[in-house]
Symmetry: C2
């Protein structure tokens, strides 16, 4: 095992101040992708990043898309060495409701060791940590115009509005974007004192169920007791989609689902999680779910089914004695590795008619799907990220999964055929998407150090 050059000594108080000052300049640009009034700010933010990467020796350009521009930059001066692609986004959520911000969303303000601003953690702060990480890495080189590996940056401007133009962009630039690993820091890690690598995400199958009874609304006095009631029938259908053990009843639903390994269960059992505190944090009286699994197991490694919306009949004030003609519900299933969204969608489309009560005319429309993701923990890039975290934090990192989906992760995996490393520097308490979004400056600087160290680890090609 070769010793990696120490980097911390280069990350001086002056360098830290400079890293903060640059990030704050970026945070001052109100790059709200959803608001057409900010189209010029989008261009300014993209140019800010392009110029910075250019100053670090990258060949950098902003590239037009059908929407906001993509910043693409590459530093390919280490032949024979690995190539990593670092993804991030420079657009931010709208600031509304403005009145709930303690300080203006686009005037970064430091309080209690945190910088408060829209985009502080999501994703300007986390993305910029990698840029400063690369800069720190170069400062550790004998020739600071070099890097010990090849690095590409892909920074988009439409993550907060659905990334509609990113997949076409990747498809079009498949060759240029080729990499051995893709690094993404755009989420929240498990807990403040727990350095974390995320190695799994759930997928999604989202459908809409429509139930029709009679061909028009009926008076419940004249027809109640004989007319099919689509709301009662829809409730019956929903209630039959899960059994009293919280298991989804759709035949074949669990086929191919990988059971958790003992290693994973043991690892997660060590995480600082407390059911009572978790329930209290959302004001819930209980945490119902699939029997036989812990809460974290249910959130990260088990599929589930939730009704996301329901409607039918009279929703106004007072009492209206109507039997509605139709009712509907939006139903989504979170999927885990081994489950294919298209297959699961087909299964529920086949199953619902078989459990529909007599008199129900049902239709199950497919709305949306997303592949689950599981990253091999033995993957050398994941391992490199883990060693970097341990080096910076002085404690062994935890390997966790996420309950949600990051659609772009699947696109990367499918189009670039490279492993993805999900290395989150932020926390849920940073309040991304909410008023008073913030980022702990210590998390930012640890992000810079972790990024640099991880790239060093990857360049050295060491295995743990």
């Amino acid at each position: 095992m070769t010793t990696l050059a120490p980097l911390t000594e280069h990350y001086t108080p002056e360098a830290r101040a400079q890293a903060e000052s640059e990030l704050f300049d970026l945070l001052r640009i109100p790059s709200v992708s959803a608001d057409p009034a900010h189209v010029d700010d989008m261009g300014r933010a993209a140019e800010f990043l392009r110029a910075k990467l250019s100053s670090l020796g990258f060949t950098a350009r902003t590239e037009a898309t059908a929407g906001h521009p993509v910043v693409y930059a590459e530093h390919l001066k280490a032949p024979g060495k690995p190539t990593v692609l670092i993804y991030g986004h420079y657009d931010v959520q709208p600031e509304a409701p403005l009145e709930k911000w303690e300080t203006p969303p686009f005037e970064p303000t430091v309080r209690g060791g945190r910088v408060y601003a829209r985009g502080a953690t999501d994703d300007k702060g986390q993305a910029y940590a990698h840029i400063r990480g690369v800069e720190l890495l170069s400062q550790g080189q004998a020739d600071s115009s070099t890097l010990p590996l090849n690095v590409k940056f892909l920074l988009e401007g439409e993550e907060e509005v659905g990334s509609a133009n990113l997949e076409p962009y990747i498809r079009q630039h498949q060759e240029a974007l080729k990499a051995d690993a893709i690094i993404i820091s755009d989420g929240s890690r498990f807990a403040p004192d727990v350095p974390t690598v995320t190695y799994g995400l759930r997928g999604l199958s989202y459908v809409e169920v429509h139930v029709t009874g009679a061909n028009r609304d009926l008076h419940s006095g004249s027809y109640g007791g004989a007319a099919p009631n689509p709301i009662n029938m829809l409730a019956n259908i929903i209630s039959r989609l899960k059994d009293d053990q919280g298991r989804v009843t759709i035949p074949g639903f669990y086929d191919g689902v990988d059971e958790l390994t003992d290693t994973e269960r043991a690892m997660w059992a060590k995480l600082p999680h407390d059911d009572a505190a978790f329930a209290a944090s959302i004001g819930a009286a209980a945490l119902p779910g699939e029997a036989g699994y812990s809460t974290l197991e249910r959130l990260w490694a088990r599929p589930t089914l939730d009704v996301n919306g329901i409607w039918g009949g009279y929703q106004g004030e007072g009492s209206k004695t109507v039997i509605a003609s139709t009712a509907g519900a939006k139903i989504s299933m979170r999927l885990v590795p081994g489950q294919d969204p298209e297959r699961i969608t087909r299964l529920i489309q086949e199953y619902v008619p078989t459990i529909a009560p007599e008199g129900a005319q049902v239709e199950v429309r497919a709305l949306h799907g997303g592949q689950p993701v599981l990253i091999d923990l033995g993957n050398p890039y994941v391992q490199a990220a883990g060693r970097a975290l341990e080096h910076v934090h002085g404690v062994a990192p935890m390997f966790t999964r996420g309950g949600g989906s990051i659609p772009i992760v699947s696109a990367f995996r499918e189009l670039l055929h490279a492993p993805v490393v999900l290395l989150d520097f932020g926390l849920n308490e940073d309040a991304p998407h909410s008023p008073n979004e913030s980022f702990a400056l210590s998390d930012y600087h640890n992000g810079v150090l972790t990024s640099a160290r991880m790239l060093q680890e990857i360049a050295s090609g060491q295995e743990a």
Copy 2:
């Protein structure tokens, strides 16, 4: 058995033409109670009726209420004879949508033996049939200024807007309104060729159920599998309120419910009803309901439970991965004799929490209630109505019930302690509340004859 004086001979073609012409004059007055623009028309319609009743020897007045006036008239010149109170209403539904009317709603037009106009059947035509019935009855008297019994008319102007001022009026005039029987013709009979007396109405208990899971909306990726989902839980609650035989599962719900008598079942089995035609008329694939009862039995004599409205989570376009904090539903139960609305409301309020899934915080709010009504078929006034129908139509009448509620019926029974006779001259095909409302002139004239004959029967005090 004394022979009743023949009345038909007095109902000459001239008298019929006059009865039509008077009704048409009343139909020309756009007495729309819901529309403040028609307040003068309300007064005109009330005065029209007062003047007519006055011309028949009634002491008649229009009386102010907090809303539209009541027309009250009495003819009390038959000491020792029974007193009947005839209820009706002179207000009508709004005419909208005007463009769907083939001829203007307030220009009565005769086509195919029917008069088309707003209020033709509901309730001007049916109420006026009684006024002309009384006139016909007086023409059969030796002294046409007399009547063989005492008659009171109570004609309100707010039935189509909820009769808010009628119960206070009745309460205030309890003594003046005293009667041996109350006659109401404000509904639809079963079928064209079936003269009918209605002897039962269902009651109502209407509640709103609210289910809360977490204290805020949650992301289904981050929380799906552990957070309580109020929509799933509400669906489970609803699905448990009825069993797979269509029976309501609330403990005590059926306590005190009178079983149908064999006579009733046999009587209703003879009615011209066909399940397939009934289902086709509402475009329903089936007529689900309580096992062991025919459709008419389920509609008229069995209690039931229907969800009238449901809401929760995301109801817009596309897919939103939210776990809602709350969900709600409006649930009503149609009640039959033996069931008290307040008791049933209490039962469901007690029951729902016991079947709520773990993690559900539930609240069941009482919204509305109404007493069921059952009129003793042996009641001499009901019998008199039946004999009158048989006399006019030449066929034995049918005794049916209605599935809905007529709130004012309970008020009459409770405040005036008199039996109510529900004698409907109209038909559903008259399209009350809809464009092109009409009333068959033959039904109108049969109404006049039936009313006169019934009053004659009551005056004679004969039993069948």
